[in-house]
């Protein structure tokens, strides 16, 4: 994408003429609005992480859960001899779809409409919430059952419905745990991954009316308690709200992939079904599902095939919901699409494999990211949906170890996007920060051998601070203190290697 920048910002380092410039900063496309939904936290990542790291129970729960699921995923992926080709096929399909996203969405709209559904276009979270609330109100129902969905979490639909006097009941087991505990999700697949069994038992005993007081933390007993609680709600529900894993443009088919069957109950029992879907979930052809339905379960739950895959197109008289609404949500996605590096983040099929392998996520948990999208994908998606400056600490919340890229079933190069977004953040600053001054100065030094050798000599003088000891003192001024609080720094040598060598080989 080439853009004609009409930007008057002072540019610290002028670009060469004709240099490509990244999209989001210059196109001015709308990002997800503030004050609605859950894409922005209240703290920067380092601050939130600092608190989370001290929560021993959280660390234990997450460590155990992610280790288990990593192992399961690795085992079932290893079974597929052509995994890498499959992965590249998924990547290619997504890239091709994004290149003509508008056409596929219009085709989807035509096909859904032809089959008796109604399509709504929502520019952002506010609009989507208004549309869904209006649709529920029109049915006269005061409650809706919900299929686990990231899009509705993203826009804060439950809060919007509640404000309109409509109760939203989460039916996914983990999502229900989070809802009953008045907590927020910390993982895109297992929203209650930060809770262990005994914590869940405690939440159930406290919040489910009429629950067996002798409830134990046996997973089966816990599931049965949730089942009894939900069953009654399924049977009386008249409206369901879902997200979608995929939407097939050529057939107008929506698809939800799940493990518990609760989603299937929501998708089939009520009279009215409202599906909120990010615009990037569309795939052109039915046969494309063949690729993604192989990639997704193995990557997400570590299963060869997920237990429930529901597909529906429009309405079928006398069978299932008789009214179907599809809300197509932008909420910053077009802005992401405009960024030629960052747009790959839209390929995500929300499997959560990158969260499960991430050494940062494993230790801090999802809440530290402040967005419903945590972990590596969250660190590249949230800042793009909101505009980088609203989530500026997230692209830095990674050691760039690359484990996420290796497991991603659609080969999203998350580390490269993280680095790109760091650049976007730096270049978005209108006033020089102390860091920028330091890095610019260092760049000047590192590109001039004479200055570099002087700087190395100066660094070598740091050895006097050590007063003959092999390491520097732990109490150094910031930013060095951030290192030396937990790690020693070796005493710098008197001479650099290059200097020594040059002296030895001077004839």
């Amino acid at each position: 994408m080439t853009t004609t920048p009409q930007d008057s910002r002072a540019e610290p380092t002028p670009l060469a003429p004709g240099a490509p410039r990244s999209g989001t900063t210059f196109l001015g496309l709308p990002t997800a609005p503030r004050g609605v939904g859950h894409l922005r936290g209240t703290q920067s990542f380092p601050d939130a992480a600092r608190t989370a790291l001290r929560d021993g129970q959280l660390r234990a729960n997450l460590g155990r859960a992610t280790t288990t699921i990593r192992g399961k995923r690795a085992a079932v992926v290893a079974e597929v001899p052509h995994w890498e080709q499959l992965r590249q096929a998924g990547k290619a399909l997504k890239a091709a779809t994004m290149a003509r996203l508008d056409e596929h969405l219009e085709e989807l709209e035509r096909q859904v409409t032809a089959r008796g559904g109604t399509v709504h276009w929502a520019r952002d979270a506010t609009e989507a919430n208004r549309i869904v609330t209006g649709l529920v109100q029109a049915t006269g129902s005061r409650e809706v059952v919900k299929v686990k969905s990231m899009a509705t979490q993203e826009i804060g639909l439950n809060e919007a419905l509640e404000a309109a006097g409509i109760e939203a009941i989460e039916t996914d087991l983990a999502e229900l745990i989070v809802q009953l505990g008045e907590d927020s999700p910390s993982h895109i697949l297992v929203p209650a991954i930060h809770k262990n069994r005994s914590e869940i038992r405690e939440i159930f005993r406290r919040t489910i009316p009429g629950v067996d007081p002798g409830l134990t933390d046996d997973p089966r007993r816990l599931a049965m308690a949730a089942r009894t609680h939900l069953r009654e709600r399924f049977l009386r529900a008249r409206v369901a709200v879902s997200g979608a894993n995929f939407a097939v443009a050529e057939t107008g088919t929506l698809s939800v992939v799940e493990s518990e069957g609760n989603g299937r109950m929501c998708l089939t029992l009520p009279q009215t079904l409202i599906t909120v879907m990010g615009i990037e979930k569309v795939v052109p052809r039915w046969e494309d599902l063949g690729v993604f339905l192989q990639l997704l379960p193995r990557s997400s739950t570590g299963e060869r095939m997920n237990p429930y895959t529901s597909t529906w197109a429009g309405v079928t008289p006398g069978d299932g919901p008789q009214e179907f609404h599809l809300v197509l949500l932008d909420n910053g996605r077009t802005a992401v699409l405009a960024d030629e590096v960052g747009r790959e983040a839209l390929h995500c099929i929300r499997c959560s494999a990158c969260l499960n392998v991430c050494p940062v996520y494993e230790r801090t948990g999802g809440h530290a990211y402040g967005s419903v999208y945590p972990g590596p994908i969250g660190a590249v998606l949230s800042p793009q949906l909101t505009g980088v400056e609203d989530n500026a600490s997230l692209p830095y919340a990674s050691s760039l170890c690359g484990a996420c890229y290796d497991v991603c079933p659609v080969a999203i190069d998350i580390p490269s996007i993280l680095v790109h977004l760091r650049g976007e953040h730096v270049e978005a600053q209108t006033r020089p920060t102390a860091e920028a001054v330091a890095f610019r100065g260092l760049a000047r030094v590192m590109s001039n051998p004479r200055l570099w050798h002087l700087a190395q000599r100066a660094a070598g003088l740091g050895r006097f601070l050590a007063r003959g000891k092999p390491t520097l003192p732990a109490a150094l001024p910031p930013p060095a203190s951030a290192w030396t609080r937990s790690r020693d720094l070796p005493t710098p040598p008197r001479k650099s290697f290059v200097q020594q060598w040059t002296e030895e080989h001077r004839q």
């Binding site: 670009l15 060469a16 240099a19 490509p20 990542f45 380092p46 992480a49 600092r50 790291l53 050494p359 940062v360 692209p395 830095y396 919340a397 990674s398 050691s399 760039l400 170890c401 690359g402 484990a403 890229y405 290796d406 680095v419 760091r422 650049g423 953040h425 730096v426 270049e427 860091e435 920028a436 890095f439 610019r440 260092l442 760049a443 590192m446 590109s447 001039n448 051998p449 570099w452 190395q456 000891k469 092999p470 390491t471 732990a474 930013p479 951030a482 290192w483 609080r485 937990s486 790690r487 020693d488 720094l489 070796p490 710098p492 001479k495 650099s496 290697f497 290059v498 060598w501 040059t502």
Partner: protein, 257 residues
């Protein structure tokens, strides 16, 4: 072969003995080593912190310093990965296409030490002697960006006297991550703690790797704990022989008086 040695800014300034060991090793294997005196940095730290425009002159300096080199070898998987994956990219982004082409060509002749030894020189037994219990940490960029695979292990297995012990959780990041170690010091330290626990569980005297940055991180943590386990770069182990255990190698844990 005439080999140009890229010491890398960190090794050159902080742990010069690693570059020295690389030179000693390559000369022992019968190659001529040259050290271009105008070399400085590959630019990775700037790129990875968001200063990609500022990295361009650093890349230009690197390309000038190594112009005409037949083969460039660096004792760092991370810097070599940056040379392969980032230098041309940032130059191109800034519209410096000639520089990008040169950087790309130079990258094609630039090797990480274990790759150079095994793939280019075709040796796994470099004639080293190192009578210590050693565990190997496969640093993330060597592992996932360069895919050095088990080349370092093959080299270590051929070292006489060396007792190689497997590192549990070897493929987990040590938490260094460049400026991540400072910007997210708490998370970085949490990762380091788990890495150190695994290193210490092996009972190894030495933890080795192909990247000094990660070793300075792990070693800094081990030293702070006054652990007896130290970090030693792969090049230092491979340079050691019966007659010449690398003289500058730290053989004592760093304990303050």
């Amino acid at each position: 072969m005439r080999v140009a040695l890229f010491a890398t800014c960190l090794v050159d300034t902080v742990v010069p003995q690693v570059a020295r060991a690389t030179a000693v090793l390559l000369e022992r294997l019968g190659h001529e080593v040259v050290v271009p005196p105008t070399q400085a940095c590959c630019g990775q730290m700037h790129v990875n912190t968001g200063y990609r425009r500022e990295a361009v002159p650093i890349v230009a300096n690197h390309v000038r310093a190594f112009a005409g080199a037949e083969a460039v070898v660096a004792p760092s998987g991370s810097c070599v990965a940056s040379i392969h994956h980032q230098q041309a990219m940032v130059a191109r982004r800034a519209g410096e296409h000639a520089l990008a082409d040169e950087a790309q060509a130079l990258a094609g002749r630039t090797y990480e030490l274990s790759q150079f030894l095994v793939d280019v020189l075709g040796v796994t037994d470099v004639g080293a002697y190192y009578p210590h219990r050693v565990t190997y940490h496969p640093t993330c960029h060597s592992l996932r960006l360069l895919r050095v695979g088990d080349r370092p292990l093959a080299l270590l297995r051929a070292v006489r006297g060396l007792d190689l012990v497997e590192l549990p959780g070897a493929e987990s990041c040590c938490g260094f991550g460049g400026t991540f170690a400072v910007k997210n010091a708490d998370t970085s330290t949490a990762m380091l703690t788990d890495k150190m626990a695994n290193v210490l569980s092996t009972g190894a005297e030495v933890c080795t790797a192909g990247d000094s940055s990660c070793l300075v991180h792990i070693g800094g943590g081990l030293s702070r704990l006054r652990s007896g386990t130290r970090t030693v770069h792969l090049a230092e182990i491979l340079a050691s022989t019966e007659d010449d255990v690398s003289p500058t190698q730290t053989t004592r844990p760093a304990v303050r008086a």
